[in-house]
Structure formats: structure tokens, C-alpha cells
């Protein structure tokens, strides 16, 4: 079965994936700022952020109404809305779209919840295949240490508490994230992830990401991607350095 549709649009699609605490959000944020400073039109799309769906998701989480199937479907609905209304039109226009999590999150997380691999891959088969997918590989203990150090409480579905893996939230979180990690690792080849060692320093990871972007997309970035004329880039850089 073909996995996701090839991108035939002018714009580019860059996505980051990894378990909670892998540091992927920090990295995609740094990358998008850098691309913007180079004069590119950059758009950003976050998992679970559609204004049409958000409230339903929030209600379902708050009242613990989800089953593995409805959890999967509501996230696909959210994704479809962002795809139809935001990602596709912007890519058609020639923008670089950076996505914090993409269909692969569903492939890992929903399957860890017991949804069938085949079904969830079909569900997202309308999605465009990213030009680059970065996977932030991190040992479970390191990720858990970052999560526990940084936030006050792990949420119900984040910990996979709906699966009844353990009564202890931390224990449940550990088991659930471990399953997600296994799914990511198992799909790495199928999906063609660029794997980043997420235990390296933030600067080193960012350096590697930028090198991959330049190496893989270098020439094609000059072709059709929306960009400010070079004369204006200095002004943007100056403005960015002030910020």
C-alpha cells in the first residue's frame, strides 16, 4: 500500500517526530526561525490544533470519553482540517510548512493503544508525504527524566491511563511511552526517518538538522519555494537579531 501521497507542490513539508520529552519541538522551532531568517515563507502547524476540533478533543479528554478508535479518529479529523485549510494551500503557494508531529505520531500512538496498523495507515493515506521527516531518538529514561523534571503532572491520555496498564500514572506512562517508542523504531525504515540522536546538545542537533536540510533540499529550495528577494534578507536578519 502506498504510504502517503508524494509532494508534487511547490512548497516543502518538514516534520519532526519522537516521544514526549525527545526535544523535537525545540528543534523544529529553531529550524523554522532559521529558515525564516533566510527569507523563506515558513508556516507552522502543530498536532491537535484545529479550531474546529479542539473543543471536542478537550471535552473528550476532560470527561475521559475516548476509546482507542475515537481517540484515533478525532486526531485524524483535526489533522484533516489543518491539511485542507492550512497546510495544502500554503504548500501550493510555495511555503515551507514545518509540522510538530505528523501522521507518524498516529501510527505510533494509536497502534500503541491497540488500533490496527493497517487501518490507521489507510486513515491517513490522504496526507502528503513530507520532504523530510526527522525522528528524535531518545532512551526512555532520558525522556521520562525530562518530562518529570519539567512539568507538574502527566495527563491521563499522555500516560495511556485509558489502557489500564497500571494504576500508577508514572508506571503507566513508562509502559505506554515504551510501546510508542517501539512503534517509532519499527516504522523508521518504512517512513525514511532522518534519525537525530536526541541525547546530543541542542546546538549539535540543530547543526545536524540544518545540514540535512541543505544537503537534501539545497537545490530544490531555489525552485519555486517562496522567498523574499535577496536584497531584503539583510533587513530581515537585522530585525531577527534585534529580537
Amino acid at each position: 500500500m502506498p504510504l502517503l501521497k508524494p509532494n508534487r507542490l511547490k512548497g516543502k513539508l518538514l516534520v519532526v517526530e519522537g516521544i514526549d520529552g525527545s526535544g523535537k519541538s525545540t528543534q523544529i522551532s529553531l529550524l523554522s526561525h532559521w529558515l525564516r531568517s533566510q527569507g523563506y515563507a515558513v508556516a507552522f502547524s502543530e498536532w491537535n490544533s484545529s479550531p474546529l476540533v479542539q473543543e471536542t478533543t478537550r471535552r473528550g479528554k476532560k470527561k475521559e470519553m475516548f476509546t482507542p478508535t475515537t481517540f484515533s479518529l478525532i486526531h485524524a479529523t483535526d489533522f484533516a482540517d489543518r491539511m485542507e485549510r492550512y497546510i495544502l494551500p500554503l504548500m501550493k503557494s510555495g511555503a515551507i510548512v514545518c509540522a510538530d508531529r505528523y501522521a507518524f505520531t498516529a501510527f505510533a500512538r494509536d497502534v500503541a493503544r491497540g488500533v490496527s496498523r493497517r487501518w490507521v495507515r489507510n486513515l491517513y493515506s490522504f496526507a502528503t508525504r513530507p520532504n523530510l521527516s526527522f525522528y528524535f531518538r531518545v532512551p526512555l529514561d532520558v525522556a521520562i527524566g525530562r518530562i518529570l523534571g519539567g512539568r507538574d503532572a502527566i495527563k491521563y491520555y499522555e500516560a495511556g491511563m485509558d489502557l489500564g496498564l497500571s494504576r500508577d500514572v508514572e508506571e503507566s506512562f513508562r509502559i505506554f511511552q515504551g510501546r510508542i517508542l517501539d512503534e517509532y523504531e519499527a516504522m523508521a525504515r518504512e517512513v525514511g526517518f532522518h534519525i537525530i540522536d536526541a541525547t546530543l546538545s541542542i546546538e549539535e542537533q540543530q547543526k545536524q538538522m540544518r545540514a540535512i536540510v541543505v544537503g537534501e533540499l539545497g537545490v530544490s529550495l531555489k525552485n519555486g519555494v517562496l522567498r523574499f528577494p535577496p536584497s531584503e534578507i539583510h533587513a530581515i536578519e537585522a530585525a531577527a537579531s534585534v529580537l
Binding site: 474546529l52 473528550g60 470519553m65 476509546t67 475515537t70 479518529l73 478525532i74
Partner: protein, 259 residues
Amino acid sequence: MRLKQPLQFYSEPLPGVDSAELHGKLIVIEGPDAVGRTTQIAMLRQWLEQEGHAVLDTGMARGALAGKGIKQAKEGNTLGPLTMTLYYTTDFADRLENEIVPALRAGFVVLTDRYIFSIMARAMARGEDRRWINQVTGFGLAPHAVYYLRADVKQLVSRVVLGRGAFDYWESGMDMRFGDNMFDSFVKYQTRLIRALDAMAKKYNFVTVDAGRPPQVIFRDLQGHISNLEIKKLRNMPRINGAVRPDAVNHHVKNARKQ
């Protein structure tokens, strides 16, 4: 393709559901907009309850999880076709897992106003991939019976205009602009829906019911079909009055419409 046995999953078993423990009956009323499904369901419900059966009636976008969200999304001007298909599928899954399956476990007769077939027909009328939507909705349970209330577009138009007095934006498929006004768009969109439902009739073993007749005649027709479904007979059920009066079910219809 081989027909599915009742209460078997079409292609994708739902986690945690053993169809061997489902003892009720699942009856689907399908058909295009304005064909009179709601009226029939209200009459059927009253009749079945008088016969002593516990009845659950449910329908599209009435679920606790997504019903409200769908309604709000339809009030705005950004709901795209894929998003709509998946939102309805989310609602269907929620009602299947949290209403229909528990009711079937408890031996209810479940009457459902539309099923995955309407979701599929709407998706196909909007040009979405048939195989994709087939698989997406593959966790549906095959019903004991699907009654397809069939009418042609001309009949639907007269029902809409005489009955409701105006065309509805979504029933006219105006999100896709099939025509440059609501009437033209309605005709084109409903024609596509009818074509899509017709195409499913054989594969999913629909019983096609001519909806161009008076409600009482259609009702008696449906009663006849449902009596053959071998719903557990309760012979000694005491009854005061076996007749179902259409006027007595009017408020059910109104309530269902409000939802």
C-alpha cells in the same frame, strides 16, 4: 464480495468487542435527506415498544462526544469535505462503541437513522476515494437489516419545498457549490447521493422501500419486513391497544429533529 453475517465487523474488528456476546437486533434506516426516515423511526419505535422490546434509537451526529462539535463546525464557513467525513466517522464510532454495542449486549432492538452508508455516500458525492472511506468505516457492524427509503430527486424537492419551505445549505451540498444556487446544487448533490446509495444496495443487501407512498403504507411495509427478522417473540405481552397512531409520534419526530 460475500455478504457479511449480521453483527460481524465489515473489515476491522473493534478492540474489545466480541460479537458473540451481542444479542440484540441492529436495524438501519437509510435514505437521502428529507425522505421521511425520522417519521418512520418514530412509528417503528412506538410499535416495537408496544410489542415489549427495549429500543434504542440513534442517528448521525447525535453522539455525546462529537455531536456538538459537528454542529458548530457546520455553522462556520471552513469545514472541508475530508474533515466533515472524519468528524462524522468519529461521531459514528462514539455511538457504536458507547451506545449501540452496549444496547446490543443487553438485547435491545437498535434503530438507527442512517449508518456508515450515508457517511460513505456523502464522501463519494464529494469525490473522495471509495476504497479509502470503505476501509475507514470498516469497523462498522453489519446490521440485521438495512431499509433503504428510496425516492427520486423530484420527490425530494417537493418534500423539501412543501414540507420545510426552504432548502438547507448542507442538504444542498453548497459547501461544494454543485450549482450556483441552492436549488441547482440540491438537485445535483442529491442525485449523486442517490446514485451512491443505489450502488451500495446489492453489496450491503439493502431492502429498497419505495418512499414515494404515504407514511402509513411505508410503515406497514417496514412492519412486515421487521416481523420476519425473528426478534425474540414475547407472546404473552399484555397489550391495551396495538395500533400505532401517527399523531402520537409527532413529538418524537420533533425531538429527534431538534437533535
